[in-house]
Point group: C2
Chain length 137, copies 2
Amino acid sequence: MLSKKTKYGIKALTYLARQEQNVPVSIATISEMENISLKFLESILLTLRKSGLLGSKKGKGGGYYLLKDPNDIKMTTVMRVLEGPIAMVPCVSLNYYEKCEDCPNEAECAVHLLMIRVRDSNLKIYRETSLADLAKY
Amino acid sequence: MLSKKTKYGIKALTYLARQEQNVPVSIATISEMENISLKFLESILLTLRKSGLLGSKKGKGGGYYLLKDPNDIKMTTVMRVLEGPIAMVPCVSLNYYEKCEDCPNEAECAVHLLMIRVRDSNLKIYRETSLADLAKY
DNA sequence: TTTAATCCTATGGATTTAGTAGGGTATTAT
DNA sequence: ATAATACCCTACTAAATCCATAGGATTAAA
């Protein structure tokens, strides 16, 4: 299951990508428009800012804004920041590989084999999908 | 992340599929060969039996065995039984559809759009992969 | 009748999730 | 300057899920 954190994070990013101009949007605005708990959203946007996807401006008229063109924000990045590794098991993770304790031979492991296929296909989708693609609709 | 339940379940099914003859194999045997906690495996095999994938034989010389040819056991079935719905959000689930409370319009929802793509590609993989495919290696 | 196996229920610790609460700090418009 | 606005940070919690264990009941073969 996708966590609400990720779900809300994607919604917020899309909302920002849909703005005509890239001016700061307040948390409160996004919270209202996308029906997301304000405080929870606050923590999510903080994560996104720390990851380098968003910039922020304090004070009156402040808020969050995208740091890059939506076409250049791939969903691989977004998913990794919000949801964590894309692989469903550590033994097929590209960035966070870990050997399974119980598994003597990865080459013969059915789970390993299956999950490599799943990882590759998901990776393909996330790589081919940008924030701009999702914001279009 | 894939749950251990699913991971162990797939391993157990593969172990059974790799047997020369389809005779009952005890929980203890599978547990040892695949390094899975016996009691946990027990509950998993019970689930698989209740779902109709496995048959069981009680008493001495008893154990679990596949009810169908491994070629006819698709991973869609296995994943749904062990891990639950394949969709990452209920609003794109074929079998367990649920509308999102917060989302006024699915057609414009970025999460919805993205997760449909993910669902479709995963579904394709699970449909095209049988237990026999995984047991080959 | 003994032994070996599944069947079933319950329980508990650990971890994660999805928030909530409350205050602190920085910036900007006026 | 100062009030208003918005970001920043920490801590807490209720609920759910995950992983596993325990113990007994039931069944069937030798």
